[in-house]
Amino acid sequence: MFFLQSTAPSPTIVLILGTLCMFILVGGIIIFMLLHQRKVEGHSKQIEQMEADHQKILLNASIRLQEEERQRLAADLHDDAGPLLATARLYLNENLINQDKASLLQSILQTRQIIDETIMLVRNISHNLMPPTLKNFGLESAITDLFQKISGSGVVNASSRFHDYKERMNEERELIVFRVVQELINNILKHSKSSFIHLTQNLQEEKIFIRIHHDGRGILQADFDRLNKSYDGLGLKNISSRMRIMQGQISFEKDISQTYFKVTIELPKIDPEAARKTKKQLA
């Protein structure tokens, strides 16, 4: 009976309690939003910091590689070209005038031979720095040339095939792609113990795909990501930086048959930066 005798609550109490609850709800929503944004901001700063650290590592790797390249060049010139030229100079001394004709002729011929060797050496150093085939005939010829040289050694069977490369990319992009392919091939030759390497090029929807297959011991994407973040793997970091410049992507995986390791390079056919600049100029 007691419960049946319920009286309606006073409107004041309903209003005050209801309004208080609504204010608490509103306050809760606002505080939640502010805290949530702080969390999102913190998370975003963490990601930015990680990105900056990664950039630092890539930059250091790039500088180290450059220094190694310079040291190699200096060593080649100092150890090979230097002694050859010094020897040639020895033959061409003041006493040459006092020698008889036969000895004089022999000295000149030997000096010429030494100079020829030096020219060959300097040419090789120069070709390693910037292959003339790449500049004059393009990426397809340079890679074909490179693969022919590798095959010529008899250790590995290397072949390449360009399916759709009628229009050349600009020189800068071709050089970057060539360096990436060169680095990948060097790594395969050094570490994978493969017996064949095959490169194919395709064009699909304004994107160039370069795929390298080999039957040796390769790395997968997880290994590449791990080595990229560590202080080792200088060459891979360089590849990563170069891909970033071209706004391309590289992936390491096994092919469908799970027999061969496959490296896929994907890059836009036209340089996005150049296209943007041209669009701006036309506008």
Partner: protein, 133 residues
């Protein structure tokens, strides 16, 4: 959802004999607006570039939330109140309205500051290259 609410309102007004104010549409409308504001605030929060308090929409949303919070229950029970009670309890909603208007004013200040900053950024042009040879 807004379309659904408009359809509901048309049906309600045409079918129900309304008194002074309709508690049910007000209640549903308030819930809808609170839902929209929460969605907007989530969008603002996920935009990490600007702090949420520097966005004028935040202050407008908070103002609307406070107003709705302060007046919802009054409008919900308004049908069962007498005219004298409406006049008395209606004054309680004035507090929420004052806070709402202050926050609207704050949003105008925030908006004008943001607009002023953009103008300054646009006016700063790099010095011309004076190659006088």
């Amino acid at each position: 959802m807004s379309l659904l609410f408009i359809v509901f309102q048309i049906i309600f007004v045409s079918s129900v004999n309304t008194g002074r104010l309709d508690s049910i549409p007000i209640g549903i409308e308030t819930i809808l607006i609170i839902f929209y504001i929460i969605t907007l605030l989530f969008e603002l929060v996920n935009n990490v570039k600007t702090p949420i308090t520097k966005h004028y929409c935040f202050w407008i949303s908070v103002g609307i939330l406070i107003y709705l919070g302060g007046s919802l229950f009054f409008y919900l029970i308004i049908d069962s109140l007498k005219l004298k009670e409406i006049a008395t309890y209606g004054k309680m909603t004035y507090i929420a309205e004052i806070i709402k208007n202050v926050l609207f004013g704050l949003s105008l200040i925030v908006y004008s500051k943001a607009g002023f900053k953009k103008e300054i950024q646009q006016e700063i042009r790099p010095a011309p290259f004076l190659d006088i040879t």
